[in-house]
Symmetry: C2
Subunit: 126 residues, 2 copies
DNA sequence: GTAGAGTCTGACATGGACGTCAGAGGCACG
DNA sequence: CGTGCCTCTGACGTCCATGTCAGACTCTAC
């Protein structure tokens, strides 16, 4: 498929897809006229990459651990494996932090609910 | 306390603290010579703000929901309350997404472990 | 063959949370 | 009094994922 279709099927912009390729996160074949051609598997690849971006990883970091995804071997595993486990732990810590933050917000929400209840018992918002 | 001490006690840079004030996330008194002076409570305020930044909120969003934190009243609650609950839900969804991403990484990790185990049963990394 | 949509490369623009530097003044200590 | 550290404002620099635009080429359909 061409880049436009891949964009539609993944939700990424055409611009982003080209950027991913530039950062070595995604590869493509080329037609005789130079247009990018993608295999079906590119869809999953893009979805994974976007998922990792959303998780806060940088393109460099993603590039560093992608070898583990592509071919799990002794060769690639060396550095990539370390990054992979590292990022997995970073992500875990981040999740824990976010949960704490959510709890903080819940406290504020609760405090507001109680305050409003005290002011006018029938007026609590949703 | 002055800005340097607040920075040390919160882990934020002096630059960041001035930025927070510019964005109306933090307020300070001024000495006669114009230096910023902070109350003890500023420490907690900065820690909260940083926590929200880490959670991916923008300074504008934080500014919009801080009124709920500062004075839970009918006045402030109106817009701020909506933002607060909105961001709470956004955060919750984000956490769920991150958990899925972590699971994806775990799958990759597991696949690698198995692959390496198949290659050389005694060679699995930590 | 011609219109219209898609694609190419290259480059500049953007937004957000800072870093960093310049030039000036403030404060405590000896 | 000077010396060293802190603070001030204002401005420009940075990083990174993208948007956006220009100018040229390609592909599809009629």
């Amino acid at each position: 498929m061409r880049i436009g279709e891949l964009a539609r099927r993944t939700g990424a912009s055409v611009r982003s897809l080209r950027y991913y390729e530039e950062q070595a996160l995604l590869s493509s074949g080329r037609s005789s006229s130079g247009q990018r051609l993608y295999a079906e598997s590119a869809v999953d690849r893009v979805l994974l990459v976007r998922r990792l971006f959303t998780a806060g990883l940088s393109s460099r970091t993603i590039a560093e651990l992608l070898p583990c995804v592509d071919m799990p071997s002794r060769e690639t595993a060396d550095e990539a494996w370390k990054r992979l486990v590292e990022e997995r732990e970073r992500l875990d810590a981040h999740i824990a932090d976010l949960v704490r933050t959510r709890d903080s917000l819940d406290e504020v929400i609760q405090a507001n609910r109680e305050h409003l209840a005290a002011l006018a018992p029938a007026e609590q918002p949703a």
